[in-house]
Amino acid sequence: MSSSPLLRKAQSDVSRQGAGVGALTQESRPSPYQPAYLRSWIYVFGLATAAALAVVVVSGVILSLKGPEWWQDAQLGHFFNSIHLWSVELAFFFMVIHLWGKYWMAAWRGGRARVWMTGAIALLVAIPAAFTGYLSQQSFDAQWVSLHAKDALNSIGVGAFFNATNFGQMYNYHVLLLPVALTTIAVAHIALVRRHGAVPPFERSVRVQQLPDGDAVSVGARDEG
């Protein structure tokens, strides 16, 4: 094992800072070093997805404060409707790029299979969440989409229970059931990422070593098993 004092400190930091909120105040500065393999813009897309989902939730809460007529008839309501729509587009945009990045990094390695799986399930849950949002608009497009979607749902027997043409039911799935499911899975995903850390490159382990000038480099030690 590396004997770098800074590495030991970082390891000790991670082990001390469980999930407690108090830990937030201990990290008001960036981590003391960062491995070279994290220096890629691809790593911001997980954060971007989470941020976009947060905007989705906040704008959705505002919309639900005043109800359906507000987002259809009132200009301010329509404005928040627009923010909600575009933040959903951004969330999917960043989520797919995040997925592509993680696939090409084979980010499930090193015991991270559950990280990948929770992320994949989050995407699969996000799709019906967005779909029920489509329907909740009660617009002409909602009518058209529900008329076609019902055939697919009916064919597998689900349509008898999950009725795409029942606005009340679809609205409840959209504002309560699916956001709760998606948030739970997203939190589990982020917690697992936190626990396992970012996946290292293929050929080398995650050894990092602080240089005297303050920079950090990756040093090779073992190949992936």
Partner: protein, 66 residues
Amino acid sequence: MTITSPFDQLPAGAIVNLDHPAHMVHWHFFQMSVANVVVVVAMLLVFALAIALPFPKPARRRKEAS
């Protein structure tokens, strides 16, 4: 439609009007609206840029007191 409060009256019109029938892209059996194609192309572009663009190096710092 009844406007009942000042909160409901703020302007929220679009600067770029997308409220006209979509143009569709047809390629063999594949059909998608131009807007959706733009989103997919933008995804590919941003992914390529995210990989290709250099990430700023961290600022040199004095040795941390541990």
